[in-house]
Structures are given as structure tokens and as C-alpha cells.
Symmetry: C2
Subunit: 310 residues, 2 copies
DNA sequence: AGGCATCCATCAATATTTCTTCTGGAGGAT
DNA sequence: ATCCTCCAGAAGAAATATTGATGGATGCCT
């Protein structure tokens, strides 16, 4: 059953004539006859009484006409809903990110995004480290926000945020105020290390020269715990500046750049290259960029971008 | 847009795979791809994200899926309603008949019919004489009940009721109890005649030998008026026995057969030969026959009977 | 009544659409 | 690396729709 047949049928009903309907349907009269014949066969009933020169609806025809109207109305509503989607995106976007990102990066991005796309629901999939990448690869999340670098040919990576990992010391600690610290400065101090993740790995490299001599008192896996433990004087640790801005400016915690080069931490937005970015998704990418103040970058086209191997 | 495409689309959604849907739709996979491609073109959107080996619905696809479900459900309901129609006819039948028929013939037929087809509404088009025939010819009425003979090649005529026209005299009148009366017996009596119609014409023929000598005091066009006028002693008249059964059996009116041959009045059910008789219509014809006790006659087949010239 | 115009059904030829088969590229699993 | 699965594309085949011509029936007009 073709919706065209329904339209034809209703035109006949409206005009009470096959041949008149043929004109408004831009077909010939035999074509109309054929369509109705087929419709009647499919429904296994007669829709029209052929009374000499005139036609009239049968009871079945009248009943079917009502349904046909509804079906076509539904068809129009479907098209309208889809068209509306272009203008006012709706639906949901799933963002995978680790806890710290959720707390320190997403709020700003989200509030901006919500203004622009009030009908798009943002769902956060709080995931750790590599699980962010995996969630995006598995299409469980539309986007991921994670620490760079990410080495996945299938993923598009967009730098959105630059941060710096610094040494955290309790307020008033002798190292506070230093221009930078070196691994050897930490000898004799209690050290708290993040348990896992990219930052941990990078710190291991940085600390390598003196690693065996260090006094690593604890391994923690929560930003919040690290801050509280440092403030409590239980040791020194490392954290991205954006994750402890408040505590630093209020003097509760001191942060000292690592040396000889500051340890830069870059966050990136990642998504599958073969993902077709909806209006909302595109808006999210751009909103994320704008919020991070990283300027405009090239975004792969909206429609179906197949992986090309970069 | 073909409903087949919608079914295919929903199968893909259900099975999350083009090739699996191909199996349940008894098609090859490229055919499925083509259907979806066409659907996407017609809707001017993408319905699926092609993510490497896997696919997933786009937002538009999800919205369209809901509508597609509804459309197919509506399609099913339409079919159900039509099928139901076969089992439990509904709708309406328009019966054209003159007043007397309405009063003395239809009630019995209708009550029987309503038991069998409670969902079919019977509408009575109270019409006079030839207007009954015309209403049926114009398809303003599905059936007509009228006095025979009817000479219309386009109409199917079914005899349903045999009646007799008799002379009506007030109770106690000298002519009451006569085995039959002849036109000459009416000389010197006040005569009330029906104003129009077949009966009037036949009476005119019967009365012809003495017509000029008759004292025709009134012409009436209502069965009820004729009876009351006769009972009031205002004259003698003529009526079908079935129209005055009560008054006769209670002795208020006497009825005397006409001579030399009783004047037989035959009622017939008429309908267009090219009318496709619905279950309900067929039921009405048979019910009418049964009620009239005329036995079973041949009814033209249910489906579209074209006029063949009898 | 006869002639003309209209209406729908039917038929054969053609045009179009929609399948199927075969093929290819990409991705994932072993 | 290799095999398997998945979807997309091209070409030929099959099915389907459309057209134009025709015919029967009807209604209208003279």
C-alpha cells in the first residue's frame, strides 16, 4: 500500500470522480482506476460503487477514508517533526567524562549549551580514563572529554582546554611561593599520588630520577580527597590548577609549577569520525570550544563523515 | 512512501541490522538499503548512522520510527475495521417508501432486521409514488418499496407482499357482508377516492363503466383520513386490506372484495441492479422476503452486479 | 429518439521502478 | 594477517505503473 494511493483515493472521494481526481493527481484516468483496483484488492473489499456514470463510496470505503485521512495526517506530522528537528534540535547527547572534568569543565559548557538548545537533554556518562575513549568508540556516548593525547584513528580529537599540573602544598609550606619545583625538592616529603590515569603516568615519568627515594605515603583516586589530604598536612600532591583554583586563591593550598618545564595538561573533546553530527551535536562541539576560548577550528562536515585514515 | 518501506524500516530498528531485516522481509540486503535510501531522500534526512559495521538510529530516525509505528497500526486498524464489517455490518441503509408502507409493512421488517444487524441504521425516506422509484434510481435510497409493476430496466424488482384492494364501507352498511361488489353497486353512494398513485389509477379503470354516474364527493391522499371519513359515514372508499385490518376486525369498517376478480395489489422491493449489495443490504432483502412470507427468490450476487438488460 | 459528451473499465505497449546478483570496501575477531 | 560480517554500489532482470487507444454505459440536449 502506497501513500500515493491513499491520496488518490481521498481525492476521488473529495471530487466524487475518477477522472477529476486524475487531473489533480497529475495522472491519467486509467492510472487512477488501477490504483484503486489495487487498493481494493489489498483490502479485499470494494471501496466505490460504480453506478453507471456516477460513483459513490461503499460503507467500507467510508470507513477506509477516515483511516486514510489519519494515515496521511500522521505522515505529514512525521515530516513536520523531522523538519522541526532542523530548526529546533531535540533529543539527547551523551557525554562521557571523568569526575574532575564533570565538576570543573562541564558546568560552564552545559549552561551555555542549554541556552542554545533547550530541548536537547545532556546526559553525562561519568567514566574513568580509557573508559571514556571506549564509550565513544562503542557509540555508547556521543562525545567524550578526556586528557590528550588520544591515539585512535577512528576518533576526531578537538583540543578544548589547556591546564597545568602543579605541585600542591599546604598553605604556609616552605615550597609555597617557589617559582618551580624539581623532583629532588620532594625528597623527605610525604607524597600523595593519584592512583591511576594519564596524570599519574606522566608524574611517574617526571619523578623517575628520584622515584625510589621518595616517600609515597598514599595513592588516592579522587580530586577532592587529594585536596583535603594536602590541606590537612598529610602530604604533598599534584593537581591541575583548574581543579583547585578556589583553594589556592583563598590561600588554603599553595600550588607550585613543576620544573624545568611546566607540565601542561590538555583536555580534548573526542567523537567518532564517522559520526553524523546533528545540529545539536555540532552546537555542542562549537560551544565547548567557545567556552574553552580556544578559537574556532575545523569541524568535519555535518553529514556522515566516513573515516578516511586522517 | 510505501508502507512496505515503513515495515522494513521498523524491522531494521528492531533487529538493528540491514541484513537481518533483509531476511525477515524476504528480500536481499541491497533491496533493504535501497528502500531506506529512498525513505531518507523522501524525508530529506538520515535515519541511520552508519558506524562502521554497526548502525544506530539518528534522532530523526527515532522520531520517525514512532510515527511509522503509528501509521502501520492505523493501517492494521483500517483492515480490522473492514474485516469486521464483513462479520458485523454497520453503516446505514436508506429505504424509500410511501407513508402507508412505512406504517403497515416496514415495522415488521425493521424489527426483524435490527435483531440481525444491530449496528446498521435504517433510514426511511418517506416518498410518494414515483418518487420512490426516482430516489432509488438516483441512489438517494438504497432500496425502495413500492407498488408493482415497476418498469425500469435498471432496477431489480423483488415481490414481497401481496395485498388486496377492497371496498370500505362503514360498519353496518348494506354492502357489508357481500361476497363481492361491482362498480354498479356504488351508484347512489358517496365515493371517496385516493388522490393520486397507482391504486387510484387502477380504481379509475375498474370504475370506468360507471365513472360518469358516480358521486365522487372527495379525493383524499392519506390512508388514515380515508379510514376516518369512511367510519364517520362520509362515504365509501377503497383500501388495501393490510391497511385497515384492525378497523375491519373490530367491526368499525366493513371491507368487500371487488368483482368480478379481486383487485390484487403487489408490493415490491426495488434496488439498482448495478448496486453492490453489502451484507446488511443482502440481509435486508432476505429479511423483507422472509417477513412477507414469499419464500426464497434468487438474489443477484453480492458483488458488483452490472445491469445486463434482465 | 438520436446524437454527443462524459464517465469508468480494459488492453497492449512502453516507461519506470524495484528487485536480485555480483562486487567492493571497511571493520572487527581470531 | 586473514577471514568473516556488514553495508553500499552497479548492472541486468523482473515486476509494476503509466500511457494512449478503445469500448460500453449513461445522461443530457436538441
Amino acid at each position: 500500500m502506497d501513500l500515493d494511493q491513499l491520496h488518490t483515493f481521498l481525492e476521488i472521494v473529495r471530487l466524487k470522480s475518477f477522472s477529476k481526481a486524475a487531473q489533480t493527481c497529475y495522472r491519467t484516468q486509467p492510472a487512477i482506476s488501477a490504483q484503486i483496483r489495487q487498493l481494493e484488492q489489498e483490502l479485499n473489499t470494494t471501496l466505490f460503487e460504480r453506478l453507471g456514470t456516477r460513483i459513490s463510496l461503499t460503507v467500507a470505503g467510508r470507513i477506509f477514508a477516515e483511516h486514510a485521512e489519519q494515515i496521511l495526517a500522521l505522515r505529514r506530522r512525521a515530516q513536520d517533526a523531522i523538519n522541526e528537528l532542523e530548526k529546533v534540535p531535540r533529543g539527547e547527547l551523551v557525554i562521557a567524562a571523568n569526575e574532575a572534568t564533570c565538576i570543573y569543565v562541564l558546568p560552564g559548557v552545559f549552561s551555555e549549551f542549554k541556552k542554545q538548545f533547550p530541548n536537547v537533554q545532556l546526559l553525562v556518562d561519568r567514566a574513568y580514563g580509557t573508559r571514556v575513549v571506549q564509550a565513544v568508540l562503542d557509540n555508547l556516548a556521543d562525545f567524550g572529554i578526556t586528557q590528550l593525547p588520544v591515539q585512535e584513528k577512528k576518533l576526531q580529537v578537538v583540543k578544548i582546554h589547556t591546564d597545568e599540573i602543579r605541585l600542591l602544598v599546604p598553605g604556609g609550606h616552605p615550597l609555597e611561593g617557589r617559582e618551580r619545583v624539581y623532583p629532588s625538592d620532594l625528597l623527605g616529603e610525604q607524597i600523595l599520588l593519584p592512583k591511576t590515569g594519564t596524570t599519574r603516568a606522566r608524574l611517574a615519568v617526571w619523578l623517575d630520577p628520584v622515584f625510589d627515594e621518595l616517600n609515597i605515603s598514599m595513592e588516592l583516586d579522587s580530586t577532592e580527597m587529594i585536596k583535603r589530604f594536602v590541606m590537612a598536612g598529610l602530604g604533598l600532591s599534584f593537581l591541575a590548577v583548574s581543579h583547585c583554583r578556589e583553594e589556592v586563591s583563598s590561600g588554603k593550598i599553595g600550588s607550585v609549577p613543576l620544573g624545568p618545564e611546566p607540565m601542561i595538561r590538555r583536555l580534548g573533546l573526542i567523537y567518532r569520525k564517522d559520526k553524523s553530527l546533528s545540529k545539536a551535536a555540532l552546537g555542542f562541539v562549537q560551544g565547548t570550544l567557545a567556552n574553552a576560548g580556544s578559537g574556532i577550528i575545523e569541524i568535519p562536515a555535518l553529514q556522515r563523515v566516513r573515516a578516511t585514515g586522517d
